[in-house]
């Protein structure tokens, strides 16, 4: 549960993030704004995973699949819009009010289909199956030669277009990402505190008892799975716009692992944690090599993962409370 310290932290964090582009500019490094936009986008994906993982107890190892679907919807429609060809008889478009909801909706639909299958099982089966289906979608996008296959697809038309808003401006795009993150965060906070959320948390703690209280748990789990899929789809939509490039790499199985790590690193079952986790993970990824470089440890600079892997193991073994737990919880009330 949120502690009294958490709210001021969130407000301060929001103010900081609103001010960030100016700070970055003042510091003479506007590139940071783009780095943080990426953190915000992955925070959305991580929060969506936390919803099913931390609150619903569903260990999905295929969450990047929905990220990929959202991203590819944007890129493929942009591709057709750019070269004027038709897709299923319809023209492509870069118009965000059409494309973005489509990306989110398609992710949700795929999550509905795959979730309906995966949720027939539980435990370790669920892990393996979500992983396998994500891999299936990975191969699917690899095989789409028209859209670049393995090599991916550049969005030559640039970012999506929006009335009154120029997304091609990096600062503007940053604020759009921030707005979506804030909105999604508030939405998820509401969800976990709602009747639905209590049911979800009940299922995590004691699924059998939930059945005996009269809850059709499968339906509730599936609904949560779809919401999470849609959230990841939203992140994917933003991610494609961020890099103006998509490739099957977005839904590579290691990306699913990365999102999972963000959740754990930040603090599972907290919603605030995944934001911290996304920041910590992406900053480590970007700056571990730099740090090793500065320490003139050249071997580690190129092979920073050799440090990152064992770090992860140690975190799992010894620091399960995550950053959230370190910041907001005392040792004693660890749940």
């Amino acid at each position: 549960m949120p502690t009294s310290f958490e709210k001021p932290f969130l407000i301060a964090g929001l103010i900081f993030l609103i001010a960030f582009p100016y700070i970055a500019e003042a510091a003479g490094n506007a590139y940071f704004t783009s780095t943080v936009a990426r953190i915000l986008i992955f925070a959305i994906a991580a929060i969506s995973l936390d919803l099913i993982l931390g609150y619903g107890g569903m260990v999905s190892f295929g969450h990047a699949a929905y990220l990929g679907i959202g991203a590819y919807v944007v890129a493929i429609l942009s591709f057709h819009g750019y070269d004027g060809s038709a897709l299923f008889g319809l023209p492509g478009t870069e118009y965000a009010p059409i494309v973005w909801p489509l990306g989110v909706a398609l992710s949700a639909v795929v999550a509905l289909g795959l979730g309906a299958l995966c949720l027939r099982t539980s435990g370790v089966y669920f892990i393996m199956i979500t992983l396998a289906f994500a891999q299936m979608l990975f191969f699917f996008f690899v095989s789409l030669q028209r859209y670049g296959g393995d090599d991916g697809l550049f969005m030559f038309a640039g970012r999506s277009t929006m009335p009154f808003i120029d997304l091609d401006n990096d600062t503007t795009f940053y604020y759009v990402c921030l707005a979506f993150l804030a909105g999604f965060f508030i939405l998820c906070r509401a969800i976990v505190a709602s009747r639905f959320g209590r049911v979800l948390r009940g299922i995590k703690q004691n699924e059998r008892r939930m059945v005996m209280l009269g809850y059709p748990v499968y339906r509730y789990k599936l609904a949560a799975f779809v919401i999470a899929g849609a959230g990841a789809g939203l992140a994917g939509v933003l991610l494609a716009n961020h890099t103006k490039f998509v490739s099957p790499d977005i839904l590579h199985w290691t990306k699913s692992g990365d999102i999972l790590i963000m959740v754990i690193l930040g603090g599972i079952g907290t919603l605030t944690g995944p934001i911290l986790g996304s920041a910590a993970f992406l900053l480590l990824e970007d700056y571990l090599p730099v740090i090793f470089g500065a320490l003139s440890m050249d071997l580690l600079k190129d092979h920073w993962r050799i440090v990152f892997g064992p770090m992860l193991i140690l975190i799992v073994l010894f620091a399960r409370r995550g950053l959230y737990g370190m910041l907001f919880r005392r040792e004693t009330d660890d749940g």
């Binding site: 993982l53 260990v59 190892f61 299958l117 995966c118 027939r120 099982t121 435990g123 370790v124 089966y125 892990i127 393996m128 199956i129 992983l131 396998a132 289906f133 891999q135 299936m136 191969f139 699917f140 690899v142 095989s143 789409l144 030669q145 028209r146 199985w253 692992g257 999972l260 790590i261 754990i264 071997l299 092979h303 993962r305 050799i306 990152f308 892997g309 064992p310 770090m311 992860l312 193991i313 799992v316 073994l317 399960r320």
Partner: protein
């Protein structure tokens, strides 16, 4: 017809690799309750060691024989340093920690061998083709793999059904507590089993060396297919792993070979190639989906699945 038989044999051979990986994975889960993402890394280590030693000595036999202890040693180290701490943890912890292990191992392999793939030639003695089925010339090396795979499966079957260790494994995969109650040295049993699983995976990796390029990431490719195998076969069941492996191997190979052609019966060739490429690589996953609909706990369910 000729092509079909050839592809069927290729499928069988892929199935054998899968079985060697999946058998260890499924037993480790059945007995220790551990999901180990890094199992594919042992496959990769087998391939790298075989390729390297073969390069030094010029003898594939020596390369293959050194891959086995290398994989076993790697397996024991992994078990000793990391896995032991994970047996009592939940699946999420196991997945994350073994994911971290993959990052580490892959990076270590890159540091040692670099990023360029290694290539390993088919040993001279096994070059050429043979007509095991009249009219179907088939590479001798692949025949050797199939034969070796059948031999290993047979040995495994004998161990499991005829020895005391096998009895413990069978008992353990359905009832872990019971084995503990028998007063067996569980820690030793686990380490031994882990080493055995590593040897099978390493053996498969070494054998695969001449057929694929030896590179980082090869372990995870086969790992995910092995997961599909286990889901289809039923977790903890060696028989399920065998049936699942052959099914997946054959469906995957035949799918890649024939799905685009079959689609050409209905679609324009260009379109058929496009869709066919995607569909054929998705075939095994569709097979898995089908099994899930019909039998959610696999073709050969065991009690281990309940965990």
């Amino acid at each position: 017809m000729l092509l079909f038989v050839e592809q069927l044999l290729n499928g069988l051979q892929l199935g054998i690799f899968l079985f060697l990986v999946a058998a260890g994975l499924t037993l480790i889960f059945g007995i220790m309750g551990l999901i180990n993402l890094a199992h594919g890394s042992l496959f990769m280590i087998g391939a790298y060691v075989a390729a390297t030693v073969t390069g030094w000595t010029g003898s594939f036999t020596i390369g293959l024989l050194s891959a086995l202890p290398a994989a076993a040693i790697a397996g024991v180290i992994i078990e000793f340093v990391v896995m032991r701490r994970l047996y009592d943890r939940d699946h999420l912890d196991q997945v994350l920690a073994t994911f971290g292990l993959i990052l580490f191992i892959n990076e270590a392999v890159t540091m040692i061998w670099g990023r360029t793939p290694l290539f390993l030639n088919v040993p001279d003695a096994l070059k050429g083709t043979i007509e095991i089925i009249p009219g179907v010339p088939y590479p001798i090396y692949r025949v050797a793999i199939i034969a070796a795979g059948i031999l290993v499966a047979l040995i495994l079957w004998l161990i499991i059904t005829r020895t005391r260790a096998g009895m413990l494994i069978r008992a353990g995969s359905t009832n872990r507590e019971m084995v503990a109650a028998l007063g067996v040295d569980i820690a030793l049993l686990y380490t031994a089993l882990f080493a055995a699983g590593a040897v099978f995976a390493g053996f498969a990796g070494a054998m695969a060396g001449p057929l694929v390029s030896v590179q980082v990431g090869m372990g995870e490719q086969i790992l995910i297919l092995a997961f599909v195998v286990i889901v289809i076969g039923g977790i903890g069941s060696v028989r399920g792993a065998l049936v699942g492996s052959l099914l997946v191997g054959i469906v995957d190979t035949l799918g890649r070979a024939f799905v685009p052609d079959i689609l050409k019966l209905f679609l324009a060739p260009a379109e058929a190639d496009g869709i066919g490429g995607g569909l054929s690589s998705m075939m095994v996953y569709l097979l898995m989906a089908l099994v899930l609909v019909i039998r959610p706990s696999g073709l050969f369910p065991t009690a281990a699945a309940a965990r």
